[in-house]
Symmetry: C2
Subunit: 345 residues, 2 copies
């Protein structure tokens, strides 16, 4: 005997196939008592719906959109590529993926794109965006239209996101802090924290986690204020010079977001490359090269392949109104050192 089918349930519950179908698909026209009887039978037989057959029968070709900022960032580019790769595979599961880049500086455009997508009958939306009031309001109306929203990389807890796919920013910062403290060992120098900007929620959380561990476990190490580079090497150089001139030597640098190339340049000009413990985020061609070169000591990353797959799986589950396998979708925080770099195919 194979798996039980709807026919088995109908027999077991003593109702017709049509009724089972109505219960399974939450269609109206069934008494509560009958619904209970069917659900009982389902539980007794351990029935699991054959989603493949269901989708086949539905002939439903759901359309979902994934929105990424068009920021000049290798991480976002890598993520874009990863999603593109998985999207072709997702089409086998009757899901068509639209990958859209929106101007990272203008949330009003993002809001407009979202309302267009909803008007166009999109079935689900995933996006990586900061939680500004404009975005929040836009997402609320997406939600109101019954379209599930999945937050990527940076959570959107107050916008009614159905799910968050990404790592815990606070834990990422704590891990960076622990590594920084352990790598510095007996030394207790100053540590610099550098960000492109502190607007994104995950940067803030990382900083918080970093500070928490440094304060608790390595009180001898002095951590400076966050230096914001806004992506420009010149500004970074300037603020670093200022920070350096203020007092004592720098022993460690924690890079909250992107900007590894700029940092390498500045460090190199200052003769510090490879002489300070440096910890960064996200695995990109730049950070991989930096790890191999030896001047970057550790990278805290999230696996973009998993991120992409998880996003698509969650989207599909939400669209199909299916439950989510939480343990499968929980992204692990990865620590990458020189010796456990992924093979580069």
């Amino acid at each position: 005997m194979g798996r039980p089918t709807v026919t088995d349930i109908a027999r077991e519950a003593g109702v017709s196939l049509a009724t089972v179908d109505r219960v399974l698909n939450a269609r109206p026209g069934v008494r509560d008592k009958t619904i209970a009887a069917v659900n009982d039978a389902i539980a007794r037989l351990g029935y699991v719906r054959d989603m493949a057959a269901a989708n086949l029968a539905r002939g439903r070709n759901s359309r979902v959109a994934i929105l990424l900022p068009d920021t000049q960032s290798q991480f976002v580019d890598t993520l874009h590529d990863a999603i593109g790769q998985e999207a072709t595979l997702a089409s086998a599961a009757r899901m068509q993926v639209e990958l859209v880049r929106y101007p990272g500086a203008n949330m009003h455009v993002l809001a407009a794109i979202l309302s267009d997508l909803v008007a166009g009958g999109i079935s689900g939306v995933a996006l990586m965006a900061p939680e500004t009031p404009v975005v929040r309001d836009a997402l609320r109306s997406v939600n109101a239209a019954g379209v599930p929203v999945v937050a990527m990389v940076s959570d959107l807890p107050n916008s009614g996101a159905a799910h968050y796919v990404g790592i815990d920013g606070y834990a990422a910062g704590r891990t960076a802090g622990l590594l920084m403290g352990r790598f510095l060992g007996a030394q207790t120098p100053r540590v610099m924290v550098i960000a492109q900007s502190m607007l994104l929620r995950d940067s803030i959380e990382r900083r918080r986690g970093f500070d928490a561990v440094m304060l608790r476990d390595f009180p001898g190490i002095e951590v400076g204020q966050t230096l914001e580079s806004h992506g420009a090497p010149e500004i970074l150089q300037q603020v670093m010079r200022e920070a350096l001139s203020s007092s004592g030597p720098i022993g460690g640098i924690y890079l909250l977001g992107s900007g590894h190339r700029a940092l390498a340049q500045v460090l190199s000009e200052m003769g510090l490359l490879g002489r300070v413990v440096t910890i960064g985020h996200e695995l990109t061609p730049h950070t991989i090269a930096a790890l191999q070169a030896g001047w970057l000591d550790a990278v805290i990353a999230q696996n973009v392949g998993h991120l992409a797959r998880s996003t698509l799986r969650v989207l599909q589950a939400k669209v199909d109104q299916q439950p989510i396998n939480e343990s499968q979708e929980r992204l692990r925080l990865e620590i990458i050192l020189r010796e456990n770099l992924p093979l580069t195919p």
Copy 2:
């Protein structure tokens, strides 16, 4: 227009549905020229076979077996549970999983089980086992019967395994070495390496990787010979006493396999708990507790959930004679510290 179907191909190639079917399923009775014409049409239309519908039509309920040793090991237990969990999910994909524990000390029994499974018409086999001659011969005859074999955790390169699911033992050892060196910092004490036994391939590879990095990057640190505990705390205690009495203080301990509980006991009795840098392998209740307690500094692990899912996916792909998404199946080597412990669900 949705995706092209077999009917579209038949029209495009100017042949009948039956012929397309014969070509798709490599059934005999089609001229080479016709085969080429059909394949042309497939390429032109960008047809991708709907595996869901295909399996549905086949009604095939493949049966696969997963063989784990019955060793007293929390890692194997955790893996067992993870596979069990995923197996219920896999049944949705028409795959029935038989989870078998074989006596870890007797490879002849494993060989007998394998031949029984093959005789019983199993479609695929995955196993975690050392590559002894008995095992190798048994697997070769499994292969000869056309049943794909997937190696788990420890590779079986000379037994014709169709795929290996697990982390790179050499890289794992290198990573442990790097962490050990960095955590020890300026100190250059002696480091002990402890294993339950050096029979398993992955223990040997880890040790090789560890030595490679220590020798290259931390030449000041002296690494002792591998102490084998054979799972008994008494033996471990004895060999540790001997090692300690020989010369100088111990600064670090690298635990190649299981035995964290025994080590904790011995270290605690010797008043060394928390005073030596300790690095171990695999995430289990014991190692999690040890990380939280603070005496274990790092764990190199493979995600058992991913391992289980990957094994089942690879098995299914092999059984269906489908290609494998290599990048999805490549298990990442995880570094777990106190601050990035997974949330306990």
